[in-house]
């Protein structure tokens, strides 16, 4: 499964979870977790594709 597909799957699953849990009181912890999951989805979408190269190529000279 590609990363993209996996994310899609997770999203679908989460959407389903939410749908079945409507009558349950959502605790603060669960809310935070759901928010973080959404945030991580968004981060995944914009993260540099070749992380290894992106990080390796970032070399600075000292400053100040």
């Amino acid at each position: 499964m590609s990363e993209q597909e996996r994310i899609q799957k997770q999203r679908t699953e989460r959407a389903a979870d939410t749908a079945t849990d409507v009558n349950v009181d959502t605790t603060k912890g669960e809310q935070l977790k759901a928010e973080l999951d959404d945030l991580l989805d968004e981060i995944d979408e914009v993260l540099e594709e070749n992380a290894e190269e992106f990080v390796r190529n970032y070399v600075q000279k000292g400053g100040e």
Partner: protein, 495 residues
């Protein structure tokens, strides 16, 4: 009496890309791109720059005088800031501001200046040479570059008292204003093998007090270059801060430091907590421990965590404001806001980090790093996590992670756009910026404490601005409004 805490931030941006992979060329392209947009072509004037003067009165025997590079791109902006190439980085030095919130606004306006500059620069570059900028302080490979704060301090304060009072704050404030980073990059920190550090900068500090900024970096920098009347003022040049993406963190960094300096001027050093016996060890040890449990032995034989220091310093600042008011720093509401955020961030990092993930950069970053690590079951050194660490600071709106993690925005977008072009009205930056905007063809150069006019005939005329609180909108707006040329302005100033 505490004097007005005129303040500002200088930020060196990390830079990638550009032709020939040469950061000096790339930085020059960025600075020149902005200057050639018509915003400014005014050169910086190096008259009066004395970075080698030492506040301790005698030159440190092991110190080398910093080198001022006069051949690199260097301009004055209409908002009163300085935009230039410093070593191998583009740097934005904000105009002098009167309050922490105003200085935060002009620091954030600097991000926008850089964003626009790089946009223009990239229009002229091949796709493979595209430049990107990062508001951070290290490349994770052992190279660090600075974010420096400046505060106006009364010359009456003995410099040894500045050291005595401020070391506790500078070693401990990273727990709320550190920008965080994965891993370590200097020998002693690598030995400790940390997963995550609170501060980008802490491990690069090697001395308690000194003149250097690039080698043997000191917790208290002694550069005595007031850029104002040296008999009345000092400019405390603070080199130990991280570049913040959180507006609240920048605000609290400036506000807390300014309040403590005002308290020092009014109360002397006695009420300040006893300093750690080994400040360099303390700043590094605190950085290495995100659980905030690391303790250091202090001059009074007590052991303190960084949190203990900040708690005591907050109490000191709060009590000072209660008794003497915070007028030196800002109006009551703004001072109260500094104290409130400072307190909440402090309690949050100890008791409920999630509650301050919208304000504390290292908390916001660590939360995302750990989230992705867990989601994909990654090792602690995975490149993906390191990419998050770097991309948190990316200035590109489509790539910036800081813009996505839910940081609370104190500043109005429109105010930021206006601050890109217009100077603050509260300091001499108003006169500098207005002159650059109104009489660009008649200004030969400008710097922090003067504007030099070239009227075409006769000698150049220097208008000195040795008091940072003169040259404000209140004092010069009318004069500028009625002077349609620099000639008229100078005649009016002579009267």
């Amino acid at each position: 009496m505490a004097i007005a805490k005129v303040l500002g931030i200088e930020t060196e941006y990390g830079i990638a890309g550009g032709p020939d992979m040469d950061p000096i060329t790339a930085s020059s392209i960025v600075v020149n791109a902005y200057a050639q947009q018509g915003r400014t072509r005014i050169n910086w004037d190096f008259h009066g720059e004395t970075p080698e003067l030492d506040a301790r009165g005698l030159p440190g025997l092991t110190s080398f005088a910093p080198i001022v590079e006069t051949h690199l791109a260097n301009t004055v902006l209409t908002n009163g800031a300085r935009l230039y190439v410093d070593h191998a980085h583009p740097e934005y030095s904000s105009p002098e501001c009167r309050t922490p919130l105003e200085a935060t606004l002009y620091d954030v306006a600097g991000e926008e200046v850089m964003r626009r500059a790089v946009l223009v620069a990239n229009e002229s570059l091949n796709p493979e040479h595209m430049i990107t900028l990062y508001k951070n302080n290290s490349d994770s490979k052992g190279n660090s570059y600075g974010t420096h704060e400046n505060y106006l301090v009364s010359r009456e304060v003995d410099f040894s008292h500045v050291v005595r009072a401020m070391v506790p704050h500078f070693v401990s404030r990273q727990i709320i204003i550190g920008a965080g980073k994965l891993g370590a990059e200097t020998d002693h920190a690598i030995d400790a093998n940390p997963y995550f550090q609170l501060s980008q900068r802490a491990e690069f500090f090697e001395e308690v007090v000194g003149l250097e900024t690039t080698l043997k970096r000191p917790i208290i920098n002694t550069r005595d270059e007031p850029h104002s009347d040296a008999e009345r003022f000092r400019r405390l040049h603070v080199i130990i801060g991280d570049a913040n993406l959180s507006q609240v963190a920048t605000f609290v960094k400036l506000g807390s430091t300014a309040l403590l300096l005002a308290a020092l001027e009014d109360l002397g050093p006695e009420p300040f907590p006893s300093a750690p016996r080994h400040p360099v060890r303390a700043v590094r040890a605190y950085a290495l421990d995100p659980t905030l449990r690391a303790v250091e032995i202090c001059e009074d034989d007590q052991w303190r965590t960084a949190w203990d220091f900040q708690d005591q310093l907050w109490e000191l600042a709060d009590g000072y404001v209660e008794k003497r008011g915070g007028d030196a720093v800002a109006e009551d509401d703004e001072v109260a806001l500094v104290l409130r955020h400072w307190r909440e961030m402090l309690d949050g990092v100890r008791d409920d980090a999630d509650a301050v993930a919208d304000r504390v950069d290292w908390v916001a970053k660590l939360r995302v790093v750990n989230g992705i690590r867990e989601r994909y079951d990654l090792g602690p050194h995975d490149a993906k996590l390191r990419a998050i660490d770097l991309q948190y600071h990316d200035l590109r709106p489509e790539k910036s992670l800081a813009q996505r993690v839910g940081l609370f925005k104190m500043l109005d977008e429109r105010a930021i756009r206006e601050a890109v072009h217009n100077p603050p009205g509260s300091t001499r930056a108003y006169f500098r910026g207005q002159c650059v905007a109104r009489y660009p063809d008649q200004i030969a150069a400008a710097n922090w404490d003067s504007v030099v006019f070239d009227l075409g005939e006769g000698p150049l005329q220097r208008v000195p601005m040795l008091d940072p609180l003169r040259g404000t909108a209140a004092l010069t707006r009318d004069l500028l409004e009625v002077s349609s040329t620099a000639d008229e302005l100078l005649q009016a100033l002579d009267r």
